[in-house]
């Protein structure tokens, strides 16, 4: 078992946790957090799986991850701006199918 495999596995774990929360948590901010955790998981998988062969550190997946991090902050910023507009327009930071739910956090309403 190598460190690279360990980190790739952790990436997979983060993806699972992220999807779980994305589907089950109602508050839109939480869904944005979930997407970000998933993104980090995919990036870990990219670098970790790429490094499993050993040898010198491969810069290509690293550059891809930096690209990915910037793409992900762009998406996060747009998502957060949307969350805020939804909260202002409808009074609740949730999608219509989740509006009946207790948002399970103190800042829900």
């Amino acid at each position: 078992m190598s460190s690279a495999l360990l980190y790739a596995g952790a990436g997979m774990g983060l993806l699972l946790v992220g999807v779980w929360a994305l589907v089950l948590r109602a508050h839109l901010l939480r869904k944005v957090l979930a997407i970000n955790v998933m993104g980090s998981g995919a990036f870990l998988l990219l670098v970790g799986a790429g490094a499993m062969g050993g040898g010198p550190v491969d810069p290509v997946p690293q550059a891809m991850v930096i690209t990915g991090i910037v793409v992900s902050i762009s998406a996060t910023a747009l998502a957060l701006a949307l969350v805020l507009r939804i909260a202002y327009a409808t009074g609740k930071a949730a999608l219509p199918e989740d509006r009946e739910r207790d948002l399970m956090d103190r800042e829900g309403r």
Partner: protein, 228 residues
């Protein structure tokens, strides 16, 4: 409320079970694909071989701004499109002026002047050591964010026009360089021999300024008020 154990609208046991099964299956698939079969050697050798011609001695910078510079170009487009999208949602929500805490003000008086220095170092170091445009831009933006939330600023009347020119400068300069090298039978982004280092620095500097402005613009959360 139908039952005490499950509030209305709360996802049921069936959904959770199906989701868990799907996720476990996906995880098993990925795990098998990871451990089964060969692991390819990757591209570190190819990058090392081409590094002397790339105009940067940090391999990651070489990949980001030369070998796979086209990815970075489109990534700048994504970042710019995000701020265009955020601005399109409406004017920025106003931030209420409050008396900032003395701790924050004290911290800021050290951090804000320091940020451009760190930024310049990261930008300069990027070609040979870890660092580069994105990290440097983020540090500069962080200083801007501290400035915005510290309340020690002239009223939030951000002039839209210079800000939007600054926002597009990164992608604009990158595109201009990418296209300007083409005459003479070269491909998009194919830097002429010997000019790669200088052009990369030019692109990175413009990108740093834009990234800082874009990240700060994203933080404001909407378009400046004088923007039509």
């Amino acid at each position: 409320m139908s039952s005490a154990s499950r509030p209305p609208g709360e996802p049921g046991l069936l959904l959770r079970a199906v989701l868990a099964l799907l996720l476990l299956a996906a995880a098993a698939g990925v795990a098998l694909a990871l451990v089964a079969g060969q692991v390819a050697p990757g591209l570190s050798g190819a990058v090392a071989a081409a590094l002397p011609d790339s105009g940067a001695s940090n391999p990651v910078t070489a990949v980001l701004l030369n070998f796979r510079g086209y990815d970075t170009l489109l990534e700048m487009a994504v970042l710019t499109a995000a701020v265009v999208g955020v601005w399109s949602l409406g004017p920025a929500p106003r931030i209420r002026e409050t008396e900032p805490s003395p701790v924050l003000l004290g911290m800021n008086s050290v951090l804000i002047p320091l940020a451009p220095l760190i930024c310049a170092y990261l930008l300069w170091a990027g070609s040979s050591r870890p660092g580069g445009a994105f990290q440097a831009g983020a540090v500069l933006a962080a200083a801007g964010v501290l400035f915005i939330i510290s309340g020690r600023r002239p009223a939030v009347h951000l002039p839209a026009a210079p800000m939007s020119w600054g926002i597009v400068a990164g992608l604009g300069v990158f595109l201009a360089v990418a296209l300007a090298v083409m005459p003479g039978g070269r491909e998009l982004l194919e830097y002429p021999r010997g000019l790669a280092g200088a052009l990369i620095l030019l692109v990175e500097t413009a990108a740093t300024v834009s990234i800082a402005l874009i990240l700060a613009g994203l933080f404001i959360g909407g378009r400046p008020e004088d923007e039509p």
